[in-house]
């Protein structure tokens, strides 16, 4: 019987904070660099949503697979993809995680179980079912996580994947990151069944809704659904209610937002502030320790930008490489 304030050990809490803060600094830097014209292509920022990816990924190892979304930087960092390689990839450099050929929406690192961000909405769900089926047939105890936004959750392939995972009893967890907007359309106008728990019930799997801005809420719920999947208990749906601090994409004028909405979110619903208050309030971690991590996270992102800036672009000779893979 423990009277510790948290069921998560101190070292893990420090790691979690470092991950959240690294994601935040990464996204804040991209916001600036896109505006400067330094980044080719579109980027969709995860700032404000860090607690979900971080808390979920703490329950996973490299043997577990995730299928991400167009808003995938947070998932990548939390799953352990190298930050320098990510920044290189987003800038289209040969030093990138996919040698600069994928960009923001196609960052992948199979060695870390990160099957890829995905430019096609909802397309990660069938991939997660495939990874889940593979893990089940191998019997290696692996699980697969499909991340999907509230908008993409209405896509046919997502709904088909819920069905497939349920009938085949796959070790898959469907995480709906509900940030309230499908691009510019409010979730209230776009999701007919109103509740993701209802939607899960319709496919014969349990669903749970948690406050996605509360790291500890996501960590507890994710722990239960992932353990259940790992032990053969089948798929679940986890809805994380959260907020994004930036637009759908960088450059989005966000005319669909109320005046002062983002300021209120940053002030009162920032998952990193909430985490800081919880761990310092309980006296487990000092503010000074967190400040040190803040500085280290910023330094890491700055270093990643320098590294990416200095890296070469892919050459013409790279055009026809990595197109097909040999399974022989």
């Amino acid at each position: 019987m423990t009277d510790q304030p948290f069921s998560i050990d101190r070292g893990t809490l420090l790691d979690a904070y470092r991950t959240m803060k690294t994601i935040r600094e990464f996204e804040e830097r991209l916001h600036v660099d896109v505006a400067r014209g330094d980044i080719p292509g579109f980027v969709h920022l995860y700032a404000g949503e860090e607690a979900a990816a971080t808390a979920i990924m703490l329950h996973l190892g490299d043997n577990d697979r995730i299928a991400s979304t167009h808003r995938g930087h947070g998932h990548c960092i939390a799953k352990g993809v190298d930050v320098k390689e990510m920044m290189g990839e987003i800038r289209g450099k040969a030093s990138g995680a996919c040698k600069g050929k994928g960009g923001s929406m196609h960052i992948a690192d199979l060695s870390k179980g990160m099957m890829g961000a995905n430019g096609i909405l909802g397309a990660g769900a069938p991939l997660a079912c495939g990874a889940g089926l593979a893990a089940k047939r191998r019997g290696d105890g692996g699980v697969a996580i499909s991340f999907v936004g509230d908008g993409a959750s209405n896509q046919g392939m997502f709904l088909e994947s819920l069905n497939l995972a349920a009938v085949w009893n796959l070790p898959v967890v469907f995480v709906v990151e509900n940030n309230g907007y499908a691009e510019s359309t409010s979730v209230e106008w776009a999701v007919a069944c109103d509740s993701y728990v209802d939607r899960a019930s319709g496919f014969g799997m349990p669903g749970v809704t948690v406050d996605g801005t509360d790291f500890f809420a996501v960590h507890e719920a994710a722990g239960e659904v992932i353990a259940r999947a790992r032990e053969g208990g089948g798929p679940s749906l986890l809805e994380c209610k959260m907020y994004r601090f930036y637009g759908h994409f960088e450059g989005d004028a966000q005319t669909y937002r109320a005046q002062g909405e983002v300021e209120n979110l940053r002030e009162n619903h920032d998952c990193i502030k909430i985490f800081r208050a919880a761990v310092t309030g309980a006296g487990v971690i000092s503010a000074a320790e967190l400040d040190t991590i803040d500085a280290q996270a910023l330094a890491l992102v700055n270093e990643a930008v320098e590294h990416a800036t200095a890296a070469p672009m892919p050459g013409p000779e790279d055009l026809e490489t990595d197109v097909y893979i040999s399974y022989a």
């Binding site: 019987m1 009277d3 509740s195 209802d198 809704t209 948690v210 719920a221």
Partner: protein, 358 residues
């Protein structure tokens, strides 16, 4: 004659669906419950229902149901007016709506939710009675009953067909105060847990439980009240509550103070039987503040972790009598049946609607 309506679209959505196969009543079913209640209130002559606005889907389905009925000439539902304020999707909507309903002078408030929703309503409803409809997870406070009957009883009560002395029951509550300033009520139970996080809110791990205080100890409900109820049943209408000192699930022999230890198997969530070690328990008399033994942790109110406290905080827990009024459905129906209130043509009976079978 107006009646308030609070229908919570967010109850029954927590982790207990995953760990304990708890029910998740669909939004459309919640809307159908509201329509059944509206039909009964309409039959009793209630002129208007004042409802909490929400964007979880119940309102849209209810309004569609009323419109469809009207389109075919069916006017059996009491008209619904939703209060006009910005929806936040939090418990604040419930509290704000209830304050507005009380200000408008509603005769009762029909509540669809679990213990948590009823708790939120009770925080602001004052002496206005609550008609309880269970759509939550643990539901020790609201009875499990077909809402048609609750709707009928409420209609009979608010229209004065059943005398108030019979129609309404008084209920105890627990009040937790922190440093004499913050006050947090609970209708069924207050639990002190060692962990310092709200987390996924629900309680399903007995290892973290330290102390439980209940307004009533009912062995025929689930949740923390069941633990107390398995030790010593205490009725809803009795003056006392019960307090339970929780130990380790693995404990055996005697407790540290020499008292005999008890180990219980109790359903702390639907279908979720867990072993609970108990150091001791005793009656909790009304109006007698207790100081918890736990020095720091979280306070769970009606089964959900809500408020943290530290070693420097002064926490007091007191049982208050006659704190919340509810519609006594069984008493209303019994009185109505014995006095012919359902017999068409009798004085004070429900009016028969026009049309075949109406």
């Amino acid at each position: 004659m107006r009646v308030g309506l609070v229908a919570n679209p967010f109850s029954a959505r927590d982790i207990r669906r995953v760990i304990a196969n708890a029910a998740s009543l669909q939004i459309t079913d919640r809307a159908n419950i509201v329509l059944r209640v509206l039909a009964c209130l309409g039959a009793c002559g209630v002129s208007e229902v004042v409802a909490m606005p929400e964007r979880g889907g119940i309102r849209a389905h209810v309004e569609r149901g009323i419109e469809r009925a009207r389109n075919v000439g069916d006017e059996r539902f009491t008209p619904v007016r939703h209060l006009d304020f910005p929806v936040t999707g939090t418990v604040e909507d419930t509290r704000r709506a209830v304050r507005a309903m009380v200000a408008e002078g509603v005769a009762a408030i029909v509540v669809l939710g679990g213990d948590g929703t009823h708790r939120a309503v009770a925080m602001d409803c004052g002496r206005v009675p609550i008609a309880c409809v269970s759509t939550g997870t643990n539901n020790a406070f609201p009875d499990h009953r077909e809402p048609t009957v609750t709707g009928l009883a409420t209609g009979l009560a608010v229209t004065g067909r059943v005398p108030p002395g019979i129609a309404y029951a008084s209920n105890k509550r627990l009040l937790v105060s922190i440093n004499g300033t913050e006050h947090h009520p609970a209708l069924v139970d207050v639990a002190l847990v060692a962990e310092r996080v709200v987390g996924a809110r629900a309680l399903w791990r007995p290892e973290s439980l330290r102390e439980i205080y209940v307004t009533f100890a009912d062995p025929s409900v689930i949740g923390l009240s069941a633990i107390a109820g398995f030790l010593e049943p205490v009725g809803r209408r009795e003056a006392d509550g019960l307090m339970v000192d929780i130990g380790s699930p693995a404990m055996d022999g005697a407790a540290s103070d020499g008292s005999p230890a008890v180990r219980l198997r109790a359903p702390i969530a639907p279908g979720w039987l867990r072993t609970i070690g108990v150091h001791g328990w005793r009656r909790l008399p009304p109006r007698s503040p207790r100081i918890p033994r736990l020095r720091a942790g979280m306070i769970a109110l009606d089964g959900e972790r809500e408020v943290g406290f530290g070693e420097d905080d002064e926490v007091r827990i007191v049982l208050e009598p006659d704190a919340v009024r509810t519609v006594d459905v069984e008493a209303c129906m019994d009185y109505a049946a014995r006095n012919g209130l359902f017999r068409v043509g009798e004085r004070r009976a429900l009016e028969a609607a026009s049309g075949p079978g109406g």
